[in-house]
Structure formats: structure tokens, C-alpha cells
């Protein structure tokens, strides 16, 4: 996003541009400046930089979000097994404390960087950037960023990912999309995890959960996954991953990038590819 040319002025906010010039005066003689940039301008700038970094190395970056305990790490363990020899995977793990999740991923023979956020309830683009210094992206096709388990804060921070994946686990209840619209609206794919529990938790109605998601004007795929042996169900998720990895390499060939379909800061689609903001390779100091 750019705060100099007015590209982020939309019909919804243009009345806020009250100043007629950069130094219009208010009645009491103060200088009034119209800004119209995201409150997270600095984060967004770093996210753009991260995304350029991923694109240069042909890496597809996915931001995985859910409440705590919805099964993000377990899903990743199963995914790593299923795609072994097919895609080269790495994981960035965000948690308030402990190295536990990164250790689980490393046990699968995959590079994992743990970010301990301390008391921060979300990852931001700067934390991810730090972690990237500890990963060799040239050895990776697919990077999962497992966000802090939280259905609120992570939705507000762009990390530089290409897509958002949100998990909703069966024990949580089917009205989560109605309760956390910001999070579920941001998803490019919603996975109904622990779907093998549906027969026991029959108060969870998958159609109702999907209905709440559709009420957010979301058209994204809603797929069930289960990882417990004997009832494994991963195929729709793996197919989606394969498609996205293929789409990322096609975009790379054309010098294009992708962002999640909904942006956290109200940036509209038409402002994505702003010609003078940053070219795909402009002003970047990574090799």
C-alpha cells in the first residue's frame, strides 16, 4: 500500500480527505495532513518484503491459523509424511513459549524454526523475517507458518504469506465462523479438522458451520480432514496444496505474486499490484 498518491482512497473513505493540499489549515491554524495509510503500515511493508523473498525462491508460503488445540501441528506432521519425496517442506512455528512444536516437526526430518512470541498473541511480519534468516529457502517448495493458536489477533497481521488456511476443529462447535468473522473471512481455505469425531459429537453440524462461513460472503473451499490412523482423510487438502504449489510456480514464471484474497487492513483488490509501490525485485537486499 502506498500513502502518497491516493491509491488507497476508496468511495468509503474519500470524505476523510478533508485537506485540500498537503498543508491545508484547520480553523485554528494547525496543519492538517490527509494520510490514509494502514495503521500497520510498517508491518505491511515488511510483509511485502517477505513475500518478495518467497517469490524469488519460488516458495509457496501458507499461514496456518486456528484456535489452540485445533490440530495444526498434527495436520502438519501428517502432511509431511504424505508429501515426503514429493514436495520439500519447512515450518515456522509460532507459540508463546516452548520449542515443543518445532521439535515435533524436526522429528519428521523437516527444518523447523520456532518463534517464541513471549506474551504476543500473534506473529507479525518482522518475527517471520527474523526466522527466514535461519532457513535456506532455496531448499524449500512449501513453507508453512503455523501461527499462534488464537482466532482473533493473527488475522490482523500480514506476514507475507500467499494464502491463509484456517482450521476449525469439530470439538470447538459449528458456530465459530459467526463468532470470529474477521478470522474466517480471511481464510482462502477452511479445514474442518478432527472430522473423524463427527459421529461422536453429533451436535456439530458441518452444513451449519459451512452456512456461517458462506454468510461471510466467503466462497472458499470448506474441506474435512482427519489424521487418526484408520480414519485418515487428507486427500482434498493435499490436492489443494499441490494445486497451490503449481500455481505459485506458474506465477513465478510470469513474475507475478499472490496475496490472500482478503487483506487484514482494508486494502482492496485493485490496489494489490501498485506499479510504483515495489516491483517484484525492487530495493531488496537479500541475495
Amino acid at each position: 500500500m502506498c500513502d502518497t498518491c491516493g491509491c488507497n482512497i476508496t468511495p468509503g473513505n474519500e470524505h476523510l480527505v478533508r485537506a485540500n493540499g498537503t498543508h491545508a489549515k484547520t480553523a485554528d491554524g494547525r496543519a492538517a495532513v490527509a494520510v490514509l495509510s494502514s495503521l500497520l503500515d510498517e508491518n505491511d511493508h515488511q510483509a511485502l518484503h517477505n513475500r518478495e523473498h518467497f517469490d524469488r525462491h519460488g516458495v509457496l508460503a501458507l499461514n496456518l491459523m486456528s484456535s489452540p488445540g485445533a490440530g495444526k501441528t498434527s495436520l502438519l506432521e501428517a502432511t509431511i509424511e504424505a508429501l515426503r519425496g514429493e514436495l520439500r517442506i519447512a515450518v515456522i512455528e509460532g507459540d508463546l513459549e516452548t520449542e515443543n512444536d518445532a521439535e515435533r516437526i524436526r522429528a519428521k526430518g523437516v527444518p523447523a524454526i520456532q518463534i517464541a512470541t513471549g506474551s504476543a498473541c500473534h506473529l507479525d511480519a518482522h518475527m517471520v523475517h527474523e526466522a527466514l534468516h535461519r532457513l535456506d529457502l532455496s531448499e524449500i517448495d512449501l513453507l508453512f507458518i503455523e501461527n499462534v493458536g488464537n482466532l482473533v489477533c493473527p488475522a490482523s497481521f500480514d506476514l507475507g504469506q500467499h494464502r491463509n488456511v484456517t482450521l476449525l476443529s469439530v470439538p470447538e462447535g459449528d458456530d465459530k465462523p459467526a463468532k470470529y468473522p474477521v478470522m474466517f473471512r480471511a481464510a482462502d481455505l477452511v479445514l474442518l479438522s478432527k472430522a473423524d469425531l463427527l459421529p461422536v459429537l453429533d451436535e456439530f453440524d458441518p452444513a451449519r458451520a459451512e452456512g456461517y462461513l458462506r454468510q461471510l460472503a466467503s466462497q472458499v473451499p470448506f474441506e474435512r480432514v482427519a489424521i487418526r490412523s484408520g480414519q485418515e482423510r487428507l486427500a482434498p487438502w493435499l490436492d489443494w496444496l499441490r494445486q497451490e504449489v503449481a500455481a505459485q510456480s506458474a506465477r513465478r514464471a510470469e513474475g507475478k505474486t499472490a496475496r490472500p484474497s482478503v487483506q487484514p487492513d482494508g486494502a482492496r483488490d485493485e490496489h494489490y499490484a501498485h506499479p510504483h509501490a515495489h516491483g517484484p525485485h525492487a530495493g531488496h537486499h537479500h541475495q
Partner: protein, 122 residues
Amino acid sequence: MHELSVCLSLLDQVERIAKEHGAERVERILLRIGPLSGVEAPLLAHAYPLAAAGTLAEHAELEIETAPVRVHCIDCGEESEATANRLLCAHCASHRTRLTSGDEMLLASLEMSIPEEPHASA
């Protein structure tokens, strides 16, 4: 709660703009926040004094305008009011809508005191 992070980021930006304009004080900050931004205006207002202490914007008045949730319908072309968890067209009930307002997290404008301003250009 991520409102303190948002506030710190806001102040970085406010201070940068104030310095660019040679301002000695920031008097007023106007934000525009939508219910779908994930940021709560009261929490932001609460975090502000903490984050602003010692900055050029320490005494600034923080005004937060709430953006209404509005959608444009791709099917019938109408625009209508909506709510955060029900973004359907009010006219034809279509799911195929695009948000036109309601997810803003914007620093809209600043008012600053600039000592004897020469005819500065931006």
C-alpha cells in the same frame, strides 16, 4: 490483545510524518476503524496514552471514527448495510458480495503544529 502493537505501529508512523513536516506537536489524530479489521476501538484508545508517552503525539487528541459495514452485491449490483458476521446482500440475499466498507484500519489524517511554516512542499 494486539491493540498495543497496533498503537505502537501507529505512533511510529505519526512521528515519521510529523518529522517530515517539521511539526513540533501532533494535535489530533483521526483514525477510521471498521468492525471487520479485528481491532477494537476502545482498546486502542486505552492503549494510546501508554504508547504515546514521550512522543510528539503525547498530547494529541485521538479520534476514532467507526466505519460502517457495507457490501456491494455482485449479482444485483445494489449496495447495502450489513453486519460483521452476515455479509449478504440486503436486497437479493446473495452471498456474492464484496465489502466496500467495514474492514478499515486506517490512519486517516493528522493535525499538527508547525512552527512558522515556510512554503513547504510535501
